[in-house]
């Protein structure tokens, strides 16, 4: 999914999605809930007070567990 598609789905500018991806913008609760609803996940899956682990580390750990 492109930035533009997500931006249109949640009703913001596609630059705003870019700044969210980079962690340079903290969204309002309404925008966070809209994005979470769009992906069908809980808002904690997308936004957290702590930094998320890099996806490469998560995949590595999952591989080691298996």
């Amino acid at each position: 999914m492109s930035r533009r598609q997500l931006a249109e789905a949640v009703g913001v500018n596609n630059q705003t999605i870019g700044y969210l991806e980079r962690g340079d913008y903290k969204p309002s609760l309404e925008l966070a809930l809209k994005i979470a609803r769009h992906f069908g996940v809980a808002v904690e899956m997308l936004f957290s007070l702590e930094r998320f682990e890099p996806i490469a580390m998560t995949l590595k750990r999952t591989g080691e567990d298996k």
Binding site: S2, N13, Q15
Partner: protein, 181 residues
């Protein structure tokens, strides 16, 4: 002959492309709002610097200005005022705050609010400090009518320039360039 003519035409095309104007015109005519309203980090500094320089010139009032003809001073001032009046809307419209506020999303609305709050706060501080200083200076240096009128006019121009340029400058420096997808 034909191939030579074509090569001359293609060379002319290359020359035009080398100037960068076709790409610039395409960007200006693009409907993509991100390309139209790009950050202007340096351009707004020019009007602010020239307005400030003119204000400082009138404040210190070199003796040569006493001998300048009033017509020449008024003409130069009018030309400068017209240039500033023309540049301010162009800078605002092409900058990151240029599009209508009705189209803003929450991030853009917050950026617009912060930019204007910063600008109006700075203007309030500058004017609050500057006006008593100007009053004291005018009394202390015994300003004549011409200098008083010039300082007032240039101070007003500086205020208008700051009001027109500072929000664009603030917003431009607060916008990081995003990498393309």
């Amino acid at each position: 002959m034909k191939s030579r003519r074509r090569s001359i035409l293609s060379m002319l095309d290359d020359t035009v492309r080398w100037t960068g104007m076709p790409a610039r015109v395409a960007a200006q005519m693009s409907n993509d709002p991100d390309r139209k309203h790009r950050p202007l980090r340096w351009t707004p500094i020019w009007p602010i610097a020239s307005s400030s320089a003119l204000f400082i010139l009138c404040l210190f009032w070199p003796p040569a200005l006493d001998h300048a003809s009033p017509g020449a001073v008024v003409s130069v001032g009018t030309v400068f005022w017209c240039c500033i009046l023309g540049a301010l809307p162009a800078l605002h419209v092409n900058g990151p705050l240029g599009k209508s506020s009705l189209e803003d999303d929450e991030r853009e609305a917050a950026l617009r609010k912060d930019s204007f709050l910063f600008c109006l706060g700075l203007l309030a501080v500058l004017n609050g400090l500057g006006q008593p200083i100007l009053m004291i200076l005018s009394h202390w240096q015994d300003w004549k009518i011409a200098q008083t009128a010039s300082v007032l006019t240039t101070a007003f121009t500086l205020n208008a320039t700051l009001l027109g340029c500072l929000p664009t400058l603030y917003a431009s420096w607060n916008l990081e360039q995003l990498p393309r997808e």
